[in-house]
Symmetry: C2
Subunit: 521 residues, 2 copies
């Protein structure tokens, strides 16, 4: 083991290397590689007990992960403690957490706020604090199974939310890189050409080609080759065709990616979600830390308002947001290793749902439908028809609250009945329990249905509801009505009983000598 | 209307006044008063359209509200935009929101993170980012009704969480101030003597008295007088006794407070929560913005670990945390007015639940009880007994997911049965659906109960569960069992039917010529 002073010297040198690369705006992988080396050196110092390498949720965690978007990170003022910043997304904190706690396998979702500074050049409609909703599976597993589950989840969410039709594009970093290689793109331009390809969802091919040739220095032939590939989309058939493609098959990397895409699509078929999935070679997501499969979900409905340049789905480069993009993600096998002193890798795959965008769409739909949306779940308003009935209202509402019924009353000693009823109509409260002097003498509370304005007398003691139901059964129509419902319900109960017994025994961890099931079967 | 230049001059002068007061560490009320004047002047400028007074969630919102604790606020670095800070609690943001949106009546709860910097002198166990859980009622209402509801809510929460016995202390700022006045405390020392009284939950009276006399300059007689009062606690009787007290009754303020305490206690009696409520004259909460009733809830169980000096219930002054304090709040009628350019007041009352502290206690209890706590809600593990059954597992799990059952599978092509079963035991998954080659041929899936290790064959198509239940009914024991359960359930159904009809008609806003209820009754 090297002497401490030698390590400290090495740290100084390595620190310089990192600073130099950063000022030269070297490629992200280079910087990250050197940062990792630096962290490893520092960790070596830790082994002698003098300096402990403690991974903190500190500013250094966020640097070097977002490339150009680092300037969008909110830093906290230096007030004498350690330098802190606010998290930019939920993925980097997740990776840091895994490394810090030496976790090798975990599956979790996280719904929380993230913080991004306004880009001073683009200040309109920019969220500075907004929700992200992430789901990630970390661990060394057999290929594509967790990746397929992430896509199944996106499909389920978008289907259930009733946002209209959607598509999920899938692609793979290795296919993109392999494609660039066989088309003749120089290695060091992969990332930057990838960014340009990424603009295809916002710009027509001619403009994208222009950028490749004029700004990024590709020859027209190379650009045209790329153009042929990135216009391809399909399913399993496309993956198979490309594996046979003369050019593409030359790249081992691309073939690995294509095989995995085939595997993924076969799993998605079993998950019954292929109807909305498209293998699309033009998909190139912004974040550099993706290493394998990548995907993006988009709504296809016309009439969806254009999204602000902020990407709600997690990609920090604003240009990545396509109109209608509501979710995105992919596999990122190298990120956790960047936080581990020994560089231990934990493969991860995940997806981020753009819930702020989805909220906007749902709000637009609600407004368009002129449907009333309640802001509370109050079921019963406890009201008084005359003055001096506050005490009775407080008593009744206490009974209702104790019985788990959501009730409220006006915070006035002598509110007018009309005001109380108006409040119900405005708030959408469906029922009113009205107390009145005469009714109190008769031992009755009037239950008013706000929608129909009908009133039903109820015996004040709600536990006597059953008594009232007994009176109902004296009528023949009622009996028939009850019979029909009961027969239907009985069927459901039988199913319920069987499953309940199983679950009950499981939950109570009971070890009966003779399980109820033995009795039953 | 004054000329613009005159207003600008006045703003400059007022700004100086504020700065001077702050540097002199003047009393909080004075500072806030002058800040409000300053804001009003600035607002006047806004009226001419040149400068719009826009209430932003900015750094200025937080200054002047927390007194000495302003140094615990996290400021964001000046990166070229407006100066921002992170919120310190949920109450000031709430007040700001009301003023900004000109809301006069609202009732809301808010569970979210708040941010407090380490006090460099006390760094141990200090949360920097933690959850608060607030409930507030804003609006002009009749006295004590919303205040009583806040206490009912605290009582309900603490009872349901099963944390053991608790007490809720109540007092009133007006009673405290009135008491200080009649005891002979000079006006300008009210706040600082209040802070000292607040330490009674942590220090014995002798030490508190010493601080009053030696540090705060009260005479021994005055301190003794205070001592007599602050040792009093009771209920309605104490409030009545104090209203007759020769000294106390001289203060109009105190009498108003005492009358309100009586009113509050009468409402709490109707809410059935007085068994845990104590009117305690020693309660003096830290926050200066309380104007009326104040309360604090404490657990009384022995063996509860001492709380970190951080107060989880919202009081920014660390000294306020008593051992076992889990909630606190009160009425604050002046806060919203500080954010309104015209100084319009909106009376508010609220409570903050110390959920971080409650979490600690619940965690300790869970550990002590050695009860297993699951981290997922997975109901069924989809497993395979042999190799090459991944496709079948994916198909079955898709059926289960589509049916809304929480299921998972191992992300391996050929996992060992034992590993899958072990995973269930570790995660507490109660059921395993085991696929096997022979069973597949027989069209059967084995359902294994993890707790008992028994296995039950199920026909693969889960929709056929009912068929299997039919076979059950051929056994006499089963019939009896089902009969008993059905009779019980039938009773519940009748009650359910009656209520459902009412609710259904309310929800569907139906106007039947003859309501079903007319038919039934």
């Amino acid at each position: 083991m090297e002497e401490k002073s030698q390590i400290q010297e090495a740290i100084k040198v390595q620190g310089e290397v990192v600073r130099k690369l950063k000022s030269e705006k070297a490629s992200k992988e280079q910087i990250d590689e050197e940062v990792a080396k630096l962290l490893q050196l520092k960790a070596q110092l830790g082994d002698d007990g003098k300096h402990t390498f403690v991974l903190k949720t500190a500013k250094e965690t966020l640097t070097g992960k977002y490339g150009e978007d680092s300037k969008l990170i909110y830093d906290l003022k230096d007030q004498g403690g350690e330098l802190l910043s606010l998290r930019y997304d939920l993925t980097v904190p997740f990776a840091r957490y895994l490394a810090m706690n030496k976790i090798t396998n975990i599956k979790r979702y996280h719904i929380a706020k993230v913080y991004r500074r306004d880009n001073p050049a683009m200040t309109r409609g920019r969220y500075r604090e907004f929700y992200q909703c992430d789901f990630d599976i970390a661990g060394q597993y057999d290929a594509m199974i967790p990746d397929a589950e992430c896509l199944k989840i996106v499909y389920e969410i978008l289907s259930e939310l009733d946002l209209g039709d959607f598509r999920i594009k899938v692609n793979d970093r290795r296919i993109l890189d392999g494609m660039f290689a066989v088309c003749g793109v120089p290695d060091e331009k992969f990332r930057t050409i990838c960014s340009t390809v990424d603009k295809l969802d916002k710009m027509p091919w001619e403009d994208v080609k222009k950028e490749m040739v004029n700004e990024k220095g590709l020859s027209e032939e190379v650009a045209d080759q790329i153009g042929e590939y990135v216009s391809m989309q399909g399913g399993m058939d496309l993956a198979e065709r490309l594996l046979q493609d003369q050019k593409m098959s030359q790249s081992k990397q691309a073939c690995a990616g294509l095989s995995d895409i085939k595997l993924l699509l076969s799993y998605l078929q079993l998950f019954q979600v292929t109807d909305k999935v498209v293998f699309d070679l033009s998909l190139a997501r912004g974040l550099d830390y993706y290493t394998g499969v990548i995907y993006e979900a988009m709504l296809t409905q016309a009439g969806v308002a254009p999204v602000a340049a902020e990407t709600p789905n997690g990609a920090p480069r604003e240009e990545t947001a396509s109109v209608g993009s509501v979710a995105g993600g992919g596999r990122y096998d190298g990120l956790v290793g960047m936080f581990d002193p020994k560089g231990r890798k934990v493969p991860c795959v995940g997806v981020s749902i753009g819930i702020e965008r989805i909220f906007s769409i749902m709000e637009q739909k609600a407004e368009a439908s002129a449907e009333r949306v309640r802001t509370t779940e109050v079921q019963v308003m406890v009201a008084a028809a005359q003055k001096n009935l506050l005490e009775e209202r407080l008593k009744l509402i206490t009974e209702l609250w104790n019985a788990g019924i959501k009730a409220e009353l006006m915070y006035k000693k002598n509110p007018k009945l009309l005001s109380q009823l108006q409040h119900c109509e405005e708030s959408g409260i469906p029922l009113v329990a009205i107390l009145g002097e005469q009714e109190l003498k008769d031992g009755v509370v009037k239950l008013r249905i706000v929608a129909t304005r009908e009133e039903v007398p109820l015996i004040q003691n709600l536990h006597c509801v059953s008594l009232q139901l007994c009176t109902l059964t004296q009528k023949p129509t009622t009996c028939f009505f009850l019979f029909v419902i009961s027969a239907f319900l009985l069927n459901l109960y039988l199913r319920f009983i069987y499953t309940s017994v199983l679950v009950w025994e499981a939950i109570t961890f009971s070890h009966p000598k003779q399980s109820i099931l033995h009795v039953l079967t």
